[in-house]
């Protein structure tokens, strides 16, 4: 067969081999090209070498190792062939292939040169314009990932004056796996080749390709599995939406493939329970949608564990769902009676809409002593509300069944006067900051607590103990703890006083406190009010505590209230235009007078509640001032001054 060269050689070949032989060769070449084109059609976007239009495309083999890096071996010839195994992925997997490096093409000794052709030995870097993958061609192409090097189609290396950009990287995505066996890539073979011969000389490849300098990295596209429940805490039989999602859901425009393999539900109590959300209840149930949801009522607390295969990786995530069990509540009204009289007992279940019934004997009356005390009869199982005459102190118990829950509750009836609510403190005298435990009682009778309040002088401070029967809290000021509640159904309150002794003061702090007396300031701070450190995310202690030389010469000691720091941080957030510079924060009374304040007794700077501000990042104009002021005003300061207040136009606010 006559070796075929590039088109510029057609005339020379005709002259050398004659017309018939040329046509025969040309027909053979046409058929081979057709085969390659058909093959390429099956492989989707694979670029096909077209012999006769330049050195064309070289396809190289490589060993794609998931997560690994391989160097692409390129045979030192124009018709590289070979094969390498693709790893087998048992599940559908999205892979990312990245190629970096350069390719050099050198004209071979067979290259005749001349007439625009390169001289033998001349080399050229042609770069890596890209590579293709068989995006959907597993069936047709046998899971081939094809890497193609091209000099740019029509470009012949070493043509004088021709220029070409060097592309140094390329990236693509492809799917592998789905149970397919690992297959090998094979180059297109001889149709890719260009053969040259010098007149009368041997025939061989026209070009050699460089053998090193290219790297292909194959890695699995990974994604996180997320499982959430909304809400996570529900009442009995409330609906919960469980959402399973992956992130990221796409890479390079390709959906990350994933499937929910199984859903395991471990309920906390009553043994096993079929999962409220099984894998087939998640919608959508097929495809690669980024999230799937399941909405079902939950009757028990437990843990839902989702197992999924995400881009070939087995992943597992769990979500905890808390179900507040149904509650049976029994009340007696009135709960305390001076003598024998009618009492109404009521049983109710929360949530109120669930179906329930009293179980067993329904109601059980247990007097404190002996028997009887209820007439004319005990309450019946079919009565959810019953009224009976009670002549003894005792307990009325009810039992009920709600789904898998067996519930019971009791109500107390007291014949006589209920005892008073009692409050005891474990310490009556403490130093500032020490913790005190307050404990309530009511002579053994049932009682409830509604709130806790600590009173100092004439002011009351809520204590965050809610409805707890015991309250443990640190105290800094002498005062009285009050607790409010009800014994049986009678509202009551109780109190316990605590004396807080002064703490040892630093001498500097004593000096500052003395200034408050000297300057007759309308505030008498105590040692715990002062600190020698602090600051917030955006305001340093030295800024807050003084901000300038004369404001507080007692640094680092100073007094900065939480109201100020909270207000400043909130202002900065609302302002959303960069930093705020404080020119003055806390001032001791001496410093306040030194800076010329004519409010020597009342300035909020001395209370640690005021700050003077400028923008850190913007030119200080009236508009900028008002942007800052508007931001501060939204946080509820009690003082917010105007642009025209001070000669330097600083913004003053106090919280």
């Amino acid at each position: 067969m006559v070796p075929l060269g590039p088109l510029p050689h057609v005339a020379a070949q005709l002259k050398r081999h004659g017309f018939v032989r040329f046509m025969k060769t040309a027909f053979t070449r046409f058929c081979m090209t057709l085969v390659v084109v058909l093959l390429a059609g099956g492989c989707g976007s694979d670029e096909v070498l077209s012999p006769g239009t330049g050195p064309g495309t070289l396809m190289a083999d490589f060993v794609p190792v998931a997560g690994g890096t391989v160097t692409v071996p390129i045979p030192n010839q124009a018709t590289p062939e070979g094969q390498a195994a693709l790893p087998t992925f048992s599940r559908r997997t999205l892979l990312r292939a990245t190629m970096t490096g350069t390719v050099e093409i050198t004209a071979s000794p067979y290259n005749p040169g001349g007439a625009g052709l390169p001289e033998p030995g001349q080399a050229r870097t042609v770069g890596l314009p890209g590579f293709q993958y068989n995006a959907s061609g597993l069936y047709y192409c046998g899971a081939q990932l094809r890497v193609a090097y091209s000099s740019g189609g029509f470009v012949i290396p070493c043509v004088a004056g021709e220029s070409m950009d060097t592309v140094v990287s390329a990236q693509g995505f492809f799917y592998a796996g789905a149970g397919e066996a690992g297959t090998a890539f094979r180059t297109a073979g001889s149709p890719n080749a260009w053969y040259c011969s010098k007149p009368g000389g041997p025939t061989g490849p026209c070009w050699y390709y460089s053998t090193a300098g290219q790297t292909v990295t194959i890695e699995r596209v990974t994604a996180e599995l997320n499982v959430t429940a909304t809400p996570t805490t529900v009442n009995y039989l409330d609906t919960v939406t469980v959402t399973v999602s992956i992130s990221p859901a796409q890479a390079g425009g390709f959906n990350v493939p994933w499937t929910i393999d199984s859903v395991r539900w471990v309920a906390d109590s009553f043994g096993t329970q079929v999962s409220p959300c099984t894998w087939n209840l998640f919608v959508p149930n097929t495809g690669d949608a980024p999230s799937r949801t399941c909405r079902r009522p939950f009757s028990r607390s437990g843990t839902l564990t989702v197992s999924a295969t995400v881009s070939g990786d087995l992943k597992q995530k769990a979500v905890r769902i808390e179900v507040t069990p149904p509650q049976l509540k029994v009340t007696a009204s009135p709960a305390s009676i001076p003598s024998a009289q009618s009492v109404t007992f009521t049983a109710s279940v929360t949530p109120s809409w669930v179906t329930w019934s009293l179980s067993g004997s329904g109601w059980t009356w247990r007097p404190d002593s002996g028997t009887g005390g209820i007439s004319p009869s005990n309450c019946w199982w079919y009565e959810k509300t019953c009224t009976r005459t009670i002549a003894k102190s005792g307990w009325m118990k009810a039992t009920a069944t709600v789904g898998e829950y067996a519930l019971k509750d009791s109500a107390r009836v007291l014949l006589g006067t209920p005892p008073r609510l009692q409050l005891a403190a474990d310490k009556q005298a403490i130093t500032a900051g020490e913790t005190v435990t307050f404990t309530t009682s009511a002579g053994g009778e049932p009682y409830t607590i509604s709130s806790w309040v600590y009173r100092v002088d004439s002011t009351s401070q809520s204590v965050a103990c809610g409805t707890a029967l015991q309250c443990v809290t640190p105290l800094t000021t002498t005062g009285t703890m009050w607790v409010f509640g009800a014994v049986l159904d009678r509202p009551d309150s109780a109190s316990a006083a605590v004396e807080v002794a002064g703490v040892a003061c630093d001498d500097i702090v004593l000096t500052i406190i003395g200034e408050y007396e000297t300057f007759q300031v309308n505030l008498q701070p105590t040692c715990p009010d002062f600190s020698d450190h602090g600051g917030t995310a955006h305001f340093s202690w030295s800024e807050l505590n003084g901000g300038f030389e004369d404001g507080n010469p007692h640094e680092p000691w100073g007094m900065v209230r939480a109201a100020l720091t909270t207000g400043l941080e909130a202002t900065r957030t609302n302002y959303n235009r960069g930093g705020i510079r404080l020119s003055s924060g806390y001032r001791c009374p001496h410093g306040n007078t030194a800076v010329g304040s004519t409010a020597p007794q009342t300035s909020y700077h001395m209370h640690g509640r005021a700050a003077d501000m400028f923008s850190s990042d913007h030119t200080w104009t009236e508009d900028e001032f008002n942007l800052l002021k508007t931001a501060a005003d939204a946080t509820g300061p009690i003082e917010s001054f105007l642009w025209t207040e001070y000669p330097d136009h600083h913004y003053h606010a106090a919280w």
């Binding site: 002011t459 007759q520 309308n522 505030l523 009010d529 209230r561 939480a562 109201a563 304040s597 004519t598 409010a599 020597p600 007794q601 009342t602 300035s603 909020y604 209370h607 509640r609 005021a610 508009d623 008002n626 942007l627 002021k629 508007t630 005003d633 939204a634 946080t635 509820g636 300061p637 009690i638 003082e639 917010s640 001054f641 105007l642 642009w643 025209t644 207040e645 001070y646 000669p647 003053h652 919280w655």
Partner: protein, 278 residues
């Protein structure tokens, strides 16, 4: 024996009544002195007297001291107005913190006679004034409307007036506003939503317009939200401020909350206590 015991009890009661009367009388006698110090004392005396008046609380403040506090607030209002007119810093004439503290104390008096002075103190530094005026509701509306619609008033006073009207519309007052007052508020909002305005005034007018829920006013706000040229037509030319104005209008139309929010008398009283907000 019984007679002696009864006599001793009577004497003890008489002594107690005398002591109590003397104490109360002393406190009452102090108040005229405080009033004089407030109006005629040195800066230090005025500052001390003001704090004493604050500590007394509204319930214990007699008519003479109330009148002095209101007079002092009026005087301060004039000082601020003069300074603004002269384009000189307020601090040149009076300490701005003292001015604010006087307004704080008067705002806590809950005295309708203070309404004109409080309206005059809008935008002078104390943010409690607007809450106090809103508490009066209908009674304070004419004074606040006069501030908001006055072309001479500084934008800071107009801004605070618009906030006060919003509080009234949002229902903080003792009873719903009359239809006539609501009409006047709508008219004031329209005035401040049209024509040239300082950007903060436009913002506060947007808040008020949305609170009023009037279709016509909402239409104006919608135009501001969707068309930057509408904002420019109000005199706001800085691109950043135009964008912020449109953002505010959009947020308010979408139901976003307006700030600042109203504070109740109890909350205000707690905020004024020297040891509050630790």
């Amino acid at each position: 024996m019984m007679k002696t015991r009864r006599l001793a009890l009577l004497l003890a009661n008489a002594l107690l009544v005398t002591v109590l009367c003397a104490t109360i009388g002393e406190a009452q006698q102090d108040q005229p002195a405080l009033a004089r110090q407030l109006l005629q004392g040195s800066r230090a005396e005025r500052s001390r007297a003001l704090d004493t008046a604050r500590a007394l609380g509204a319930r214990n403040t007699g008519p003479e001291l109330r009148a002095a506090l209101i007079t002092l607030l009026d005087r301060n209002n004039r000082t601020v107005a003069d300074a603004v007119t002269r384009k000189e810093p307020v601090a040149t004439f009076e300490d701005p913190e003292f001015i604010a503290h006087v307004a704080h104390v008067v705002s806590q008096l809950e005295d309708a006679q203070a309404i004109p002075a409080l309206a005059g103190a809008l935008g002078t530094g104390s943010t409690l004034v607007r809450d106090a005026l809103a508490d009066f509701g209908e009674r304070a509306a004419p004074a606040v409307l006069a501030v908001v619609t006055s072309p001479e008033r500084h934008y800071s006073a107009v801004d605070e007036g618009l906030i006060t009207l919003r509080f009234m519309v949002e229902g903080t007052g003792p009873r719903p506003l009359s239809a006539g007052t609501l009409d006047q508020i709508r008219s004031a909002a329209r005035q401040r939503l049209t024509g040239k305005q300082y950007f903060t005034t436009l913002w506060r007018a947007i808040d008020l317009a949305v609170a009023l829920n009037d279709p016509g006013l909402r239409q104006i706000v919608q135009a501001l939200a969707s068309d930057a040229t509408e904002v420019t037509a109000r005199g706001v030319t800085n691109p950043d401020l135009i964008a912020r104005t449109q953002q505010r209008a959009t947020q308010r139309l979408a139901g976003g909350p307006s700030t600042p929010r109203y504070r109740s008398p109890t909350e205000r009283s707690q905020r004024l206590a020297p040891r509050s907000m630790r």
